[in-house]
Each structure stands twice: as structure tokens, then as C-alpha cells.
């Protein structure tokens, strides 16, 4: 009787689903991580005063920036530069990656150049672009494109070479014109790689744009951060950086995340 009752209890008691448990663990982990960061920040703001601002001062500074017109002017300028660099690097990198992946002669020519470009530290591109083109918009744009495109190209090339060649045969046997086969068979196979490349390109672009602005531009978020640093206004440095990072994360998760969900809906 006791055994039977305990078996019934075992059978009937609700058990949390694996998915719910995973989600709970993730949420708890995130809360703990933010709390730890906050505790370290608070400790540092007490011990390394005045170079590390307190969270409270930083929040006040963030509020001030969010209500100032200057912040938005700089933000939109930086967003424009990021968009231009991101688009140029993604398009050039993807096109080059496809060409290298599809054609051995193109691969033989570009692969050594690509390997060299990947080995060059990003600041070198920035410095040389400024030396060659001055501190105008073109220098930043060229430097960012040169720094980011090889990474995009490398990711796309690997994906092109790892494509399902059986689908190429299928399109040839059914006499699907090669331009149509490119769009309906090859490009969709590259979508996961293109999305990875886009994420990478975006992440690298916005970080480098800030560096380029800090080094060689009179305006933009990077210039604002550097200006505040020169005036030793550390709470403004941290406040602008946090606001910008949050916005970039929102864009990455919101726009690229949604795009990924839409483009890969056939997998669900």
C-alpha cells in the first residue's frame, strides 16, 4: 500500500520541463552576473576614487546625456558611419568570399592576400588610412572596410566550399539557369554563414568606428568619449560607453536576431 502510494506520487507529481529549467538557470545566471559586476564596480568606485565613478553618479550622467541634443547628434553620426562601414565590409567581404569559394584561380590569387590582411592588427589599418587620406570621413571608411572585410570574406569562403555539392548537381540536371541556381540554391545555403559574418562585421564595425572617431574625428560617440577622458570626466566616459553599448546590443539582438529567425524559419 505504501509502495503503491509512493509510486502514484512519483507518477503524478508535476515535474518542471527541461526547457523551463534551462530558462530559469539562464535568468538566474544573468542576475548573478549583473549583481557581481555591480558589486565589483561599487567596490572599485570606493577604492579607486575618483577614477572610477560610482554607479549612482554614472546613472545621473546617463540621464543627462539622454536628455541632451548633443548626445543624439553624435549618436546618429556614429550610427551612420557604422552603417556605411558595416554595409561596405559585408558586401565586399561576402562577394569576395563567394568568388574565392567558387573559383580556384580567384582563390589562388586572393588567399595569400586574405591571410596577410587577417594578420594585420586593426589599428594599423586605421593609422595608415589616416596618414594616407587625412582625418576626413574617407579615412575611417576605408580603414574599417579593409579591417572588417577579410573576416567576412573568410567566413563566407569556408561556407561556400562546404556547400552541398549535391544541390549543385540537382540544379544542373534540372537545367535551372545558373543565375537562378545562385539565388535559390547557393545563397540560402550561405545564410547561416552570412548571418555569422554580419554579426561579426557589425560587432567589429561599431567598436572600430569608436576607435577611429577617438583617434581622428572631431565628432561622434568615440570623439565624445575621448573628449570626456581628456577632461577627466570619468562618469561621462562610462555613461556614454554604457549607453552606446546597450544600444548596439539592442540593434544586434533586435535587428539581426529577428532577421535570423525570419531567414531560418524553415529549420523550426
Amino acid at each position: 500500500m505504501t509502495l503503491s502510494t509512493s509510486m502514484q506520487a512519483t507518477t503524478l507529481s508535476p515535474r518542471p520541463k527541461a526547457g523551463t529549467m534551462d530558462r530559469n538557470i539562464r535568468i538566474l545566471g544573468a542576475i548573478l552576473a549583473v549583481a557581481s559586476l555591480f558589486a565589483i564596480w561599487t567596490t572599485l568606485s570606493i577604492t579607486v576614487r575618483p577614477w572610477v565613478p560610482t554607479p549612482y553618479d554614472t546613472v545621473l550622467a546617463m540621464g543627462r546625456h539622454l536628455t541632451s541634443q548633443g548626445f543624439y547628434a553624435n549618436l546618429f553620426l556614429t550610427l551612420g558611419r557604422i552603417a556605411a562601414a558595416f554595409l561596405a565590409a559585408s558586401v565586399i567581404g561576402a562577394a569576395l568570399g563567394i568568388a574565392i569559394g567558387m573559383n580556384r584561380k580567384v582563390e589562388a590569387f586572393f588567399q595569400p592576400l586574405l591571410a596577410m590582411a587577417l594578420a594585420v592588427p586593426d589599428p594599423v589599418f586605421i593609422i595608415f588610412a589616416i596618414l594616407a587620406l587625412g582625418t576626413g570621413e574617407a579615412a575611417g571608411f576605408v580603414a574599417l572596410t579593409l579591417a572588417v572585410a577579410p573576416f567576412v570574406s573568410n567566413i563566407v569562403r569556408s561556407s561556400v566550399q562546404a556547400r552541398d555539392k549535391g544541390l549543385d548537381e540537382m540544379t544542373r540536371i534540372y537545367r535551372i539557369p545558373s543565375d537562378k541556381a545562385f539565388w535559390v540554391s547557393l545563397v540560402p545555403q550561405l545564410v547561416p554563414a552570412l548571418l555569422t559574418a554580419a554579426r561579426f562585421s557589425f560587432a567589429l564595425s561599431w567598436k572600430l568606428v569608436v576607435v577611429v572617431e577617438a583617434i581622428g574625428q572631431p565628432d561622434g560617440i568615440g570623439a565624445s568619449i575621448f573628449h570626456s577622458f581628456r577632461l577627466l570626466r570619468m562618469r561621462d566616459v562610462v555613461a556614454i560607453a554604457i549607453l552606446f553599448i546597450l544600444l548596439m546590443q539592442l540593434l544586434e539582438k533586435g535587428v539581426l536576431g529577428r532577421l535570423e529567425k525570419r531567414l531560418l524559419r524553415w529549420r523550426q
Partner: protein, 264 residues
């Protein structure tokens, strides 16, 4: 060998080499319109090379391949339409069943106003009408292979090549699909060239079996299956014919008794 008007595919003196390595030494055969022909050969005999040649993917090193009395290669815009059922389905997973079928129809001469009816008719014949708007990943292996068969039939091809299309399916699904394939062939009158490792499958499905030698291959025998249709897969006569073929290929394929049982 002289092709007659009802000859769909004529292969004459076909040789395929990869550099100095010969894959096919000399193949001669014909496929007549409406025939169901199985091609049987040991592993490494050059079946894949032969399929690549007669599907238009690989020009032969030497020899003639004609489809409907026209050379398969250098045919330009007169290139014949072929259907192909691959070992793996090779559907585009990011297109629905209907979109996959429309893709090959767009490249064929079938008028657009007939697409919908043709797709519906074939999906119904293959019992997958309800999956018309599904993604391939939502289908089972057998259902995907049915879509692949529908795709091959849709383009109204001169002939359909089937490269071990049932080898990746479980035996129950493969059995049901074999039966349906036999029925579809009877209903549509399609010309089918079916490559398989399974002698029993070849005997059950085909009118004629082209048996190849070990590679580099030649035709060992054109075997006419002496069993009337409809056939049952468990029919003892099929087992008898299967045993007869094994006896015939014993020396040509170099089979010892253990390997014979593997083939069976």
C-alpha cells in the same frame, strides 16, 4: 547497335577515364521508351560514372550518348529533359514542397497554367497531397523521397534516373515505396533507369536488368525478368530469379559463398 524510333537512350562504346585510370572500359546498351530497366553492378564498377554521363553531368572520354536520337552533349538548347531521383532527396530545405516542384517546372517547358494541376495530381498519386505547403524538414525520409519522385516526373522527362533511391530508407518504408513506384510506372508509362545494389529489388521492379562486370565495367548481360506483372515482393519466383542472377554473376563478380550471401 542501331537505335530504333522507340529508343530513348542509346549508349555506344562509352568509355570513362579519370586521367590514366579507366572507370568504364566500354559500355553499349539501349533503353526503350516506357521500359523499366535496372542496372546492377558490384561496388566500384563505375555505376556512378555511368550515371554522371547519362545525366549530362560528365562528358564521356569516348563514345556516344544519344537521347531521343540527339546527342546528349553539345545539344545546346535542345538538351533533353531528364528526371533524377537521388540517393538522398536533394530538395532545397528552405523551399516548401510546392516551391521545390515549381522550381524545376520553371526550368521546363510545362506551361505555367498547368503547374498547379500537375503538382496536385502527382502529389495525390504519391499520397503526399497534404504536405504541399510543408517544409522538407517536416517530412519523413520516405515522404521526402516521394517528393523527389514527383519532381522527377513533373518535368515530363525523356527518362528518369534513380540512383539507389530506397537505400537510405527503413525496410518497411522502402517496401511500400517499391510497390508504389511499380504502380506509378504502370500509370505514367515513364522510362526509368534504376540503379541498385539489391538484386531482389531489381527483379521486383524491372523488365530488364543490365548486369555490369567489375570495374572498369562492360555489360555482362542483359537479363530479361521472366515474371509477369503485377508482382509481389515475397513471390517465391522473385527469390528464384534472384538466385539465378547470383549464379550467373558468381564468376564475373568474383563472389565467394560468403559474399554471395551479402549480395542476397
Amino acid at each position: 547497335m542501331t537505335g530504333t524510333s522507340d529508343t530513348v537512350l542509346k549508349v555506344e562504346g562509352l568509355q570513362v577515364s579519370y586521367g590514366s585510370i579507366p572507370a568504364i572500359s566500354s559500355l553499349d546498351f539501349e533503353i526503350k521508351r516506357g521500359e523499366f530497366v535496372a542496372i546492377l553492378g558490384p561496388s566500384g564498377c563505375g555505376k556512378s560514372s555511368m550515371l554522371n554521363v547519362i545525366s549530362g553531368l560528365l562528358p564521356p572520354t569516348r563514345g556516344v550518348v544519344e537521347v531521343d536520337s540527339r546527342p546528349l552533349y553539345d545539344a545546346g538548347r535542345h538538351a533533353p529533359k531528364l528526371g533524377y531521383v537521388f540517393q538522398a532527396h536533394r530538395l532545397l530545405p528552405w523551399r516548401t514542397v510546392k516551391q521545390n516542384l515549381e522550381l524545376v517546372l520553371a526550368a521546363s517547358d510545362v506551361p505555367r497554367d498547368q503547374w498547379e494541376d500537375n503538382i496536385d495530381r502527382l502529389l495525390d498519386i504519391l499520397h503526399i497531397g497534404q504536405f504541399k505547403n510543408s517544409w522538407p524538414m517536416q517530412l519523413s525520409g520516405g515522404q521526402r523521397q516521394r517528393v523527389s519522385i514527383a519532381r522527377a516526373l513533373l518535368v515530363e522527362p525523356s527518362y528518369i534516373l534513380m540512383d539507389e533511391p530506397l537505400s537510405t530508407l527503413d525496410e518497411v518504408t522502402a517496401r511500400s515505396l517499391r510497390q508504389e513506384l511499380s504502380g506509378i510506372w504502370a500509370r505514367t508509362g515513364a522510362t526509368i533507369v534504376f540503379v541498385t545494389h539489391s538484386i531482389r529489388e531489381a527483379v521486383y521492379l524491372a523488365d530488364r536488368i543490365i548486369i555490369l562486370t567489375r570495374g572498369p565495367s562492360t555489360v555482362f548481360e542483359n537479363y530479361h525478368v521472366p515474371i509477369a506483372r503485377p508482382r509481389a515482393y515475397d513471390d517465391p519466383r522473385i527469390a528464384e530469379v534472384e538466385a539465378d542472377i547470383i549464379r550467373r554473376v558468381e564468376h564475373a563478380w568474383g563472389l565467394d559463398p560468403i559474399k554471395q550471401s551479402e549480395v542476397a
